[in-house]
C-alpha cells in the first residue's frame, strides 16, 4: 500500500525534502512505518525525538496504517 509522508520543521532538512510517497507492507503500524522510514531516510535517525501524525492526529506506535493515509513527521513543536 502507498502512503504519503510529510516532513515538518527540522525533519524536512534531515530527509532532504518536504514530502514523499512510501510503499508499506500490508498490516503496517506506526512502529513498522518508523523502522522503514529510518532505512529509506537515514538522516531521520539524527532526530532524537519526534511524533507521528496519521491523518492529522497524533498516533500511538501500535496504531495501524491504511492505504492512502497521510503520515506526518512532527519534531518537537515550537509555536506560540
Amino acid at each position: 500500500m502507498t502512503v504519503s509522508v510529510l516532513f515538518f520543521g527540522v525533519s524536512s532538512d534531515l530527509a532532504g525534502r518536504a514530502s514523499a510517497e512510501m510503499e508499506l507492507k500490508e498490516q503496517a503500524d506506526v512502529t513498522s512505518f518508523k523502522s522503514q522510514l529510518f532505512s529509506e531516510f537515514p538522516g531521520m535517525k539524527n532526530l532524537s525525538d519526534f511524533a507521528v501524525a496519521v491523518n492529522e492526529a497524533y498516533s500511538n506506535d501500535s496504531d495501524s496504517i491504511k492505504d492512502g493515509d497521510e503520515i506526518a513527521i512532527l519534531p518537537p513543536v515550537s509555536g506560540g
Binding site: F8, N46, A53, P75, V77, S78, G79
Partner: protein, 140 residues
C-alpha cells in the same frame, strides 16, 4: 452562537478582532495573552523568525484546546489566533483571548491555552541570526 474562534493565518494578527469576539455582557472580564517576537535567544541577536505549520492539523489541535478550555473552565468565549510566515521583532505570533463572568477562570484558561498550544499544536519556529538559522527546540 459560536463560543470559540480559531485562526491560523499568514496575515498580521489583530488584537481588536480577538477582543471583540470574546466580549460578552455576561462577562466581568477579559484576559488576553499576546506573544511577541523577542530580539534575542540565549544572548544571540535574533533578526527575524519564520513560523511554519502543518496547517490542517494545527487548526484541529487549536480547536481542541479551545473546546477543552470551554469544558474545563467557567468561561464564556475563547479566541486562539496564530500567525505563520515571516515575523519581525515585536510582531505578534499568537493571541489568546478569554472572557468569563469572574476573572480567575479567564486567567486560568488563558494560561492553559498558551501552555497547551506550545506543547501540542504542530507549528515550528525558525530563528534567523546574523550567522545562520536554526529550528527552535529541534536540535537533533
Amino acid at each position: 452562537m459560536k463560543n470559540t474562534c480559531v485562526l491560523l493565518t499568514d496575515k498580521q494578527l489583530d488584537l481588536d478582532v480577538c477582543n471583540r469576539f470574546v466580549e460578552d455582557p455576561k462577562c466581568g472580564g477579559i484576559s488576553i495573552f499576546v506573544g511577541t517576537v523577542r530580539n534575542h535567544t540565549q544572548g544571540n541577536a535574533v533578526l527575524h523568525l519564520e513560523f511554519s505549520a502543518y496547517n490542517n492539523m494545527a487548526i484541529k489541535e487549536m480547536q481542541k484546546i479551545a473546546d477543552r478550555a470551554m469544558t474545563k473552565f467557567s468561561i464564556e468565549k475563547i479566541a486562539i489566533h496564530h500567525a505563520v510566515g515571516k515575523l519581525k521583532i515585536g510582531d505578534i505570533p499568537v493571541i489568546i483571548a478569554v472572557s468569563s463572568a469572574h476573572r480567575n477562570a479567564a486567567f486560568d484558561a488563558c494560561q492553559f491555552a498558551i501552555d497547551t498550544l506550545k506543547e501540542t499544536v504542530p507549528i515550528w519556529k525558525k530563528e534567523y541570526f546574523e550567522d545562520g538559522e536554526v529550528w527552535v527546540n529541534a536540535h537533533p
